[in-house]
Symmetry: C2
Subunit: 160 residues, 2 copies
Amino acid sequence: MQLGNQVEWVLHCCSILASMPAESHVSTKDLAEFHGVPKEYLSKALQSLAQAGLVASTLGPSGGYRLNRPPKDISFLDIVEAVEGRRSTFQCTEIRRNNPCRKKDQRDKGVCAIAGVMHKADEAWRKELRAMNLEMLGKRVAADVDPALLEKGVRWFSSP
Amino acid sequence: MQLGNQVEWVLHCCSILASMPAESHVSTKDLAEFHGVPKEYLSKALQSLAQAGLVASTLGPSGGYRLNRPPKDISFLDIVEAVEGRRSTFQCTEIRRNNPCRKKDQRDKGVCAIAGVMHKADEAWRKELRAMNLEMLGKRVAADVDPALLEKGVRWFSSP
DNA sequence: TCAATTAAGGATATAAATTGTCCTTAATAA
DNA sequence: TTATTAAGGACAATTTATATCCTTAATTGA
């Protein structure tokens, strides 16, 4: 059970967008080149972010993407779910109903105990992602990465 | 990001094994038929459990599987990891190294902040699975399911 | 001893999801 | 007007998940 690469890509892209001056837009082309990933495929992932309302896009030269909300109002979960969807990591197919000892019309008392546990674990994962947002990420990045390098990045994306 | 069906299957199989009298063995054929899943494919998953040391197998007529440890010593995480592996749900491919502003030999301070968050969420998921074991599951099942049906199941697997 | 049954596992086939590319369209800025 | 951009449809390639088939060796019971 692995998250797709797109998740990693858009998280890094959002980190960039959060560090750019407001009103400035960053193109798919630049984001793809900066991260060394295929532009067309990254584009699909960014479209997912746009459809989820996390980013806004503008057309034409100097167009591209910007965050659509303050960084503190965009959680990791928002981003992960925009790309991966909202379905639980565990899908119960109700194989208990195949039990040959059961009567056909037998009703079940609530969800399968196994599914309950797996869904709770899934929720614990999501809770952790919900607790982290782009503002917090920005602070961590600022603490970890050479400020000169960060500034270079901003200028790289800003230059025409 | 979805867990495979094999995970659901073996969890149900382990639930059965935990409810069977000690020393009795349950065959792949019976487990597959009981749950309405393909025998040969379920067999692969059960082999994973055996390789992980969670179950022991015996050959020949009346052979099959039994738990290799007390139910309380087999966690959901043990079972999930036996089938799905131990790799994190998030794989960091270090795309930060592709940053064109970086010098080639630049060293990083620890893991990427994004990977750190994702791994922590992964660990929260695993922690939840680690906290549940087959003994606890047995109690929940006993509370949820008609005792007569449970007993019928045990007899179904016990009869030759 | 013999026949039936079983897990283990190799080889292979099929289906689905992931990853990636190509192209057209409409909007927009310079 | 021209170059640039996001959106998105169509398609291709690759990888993973799902499933089947077959052989082997161990074991049980007749």
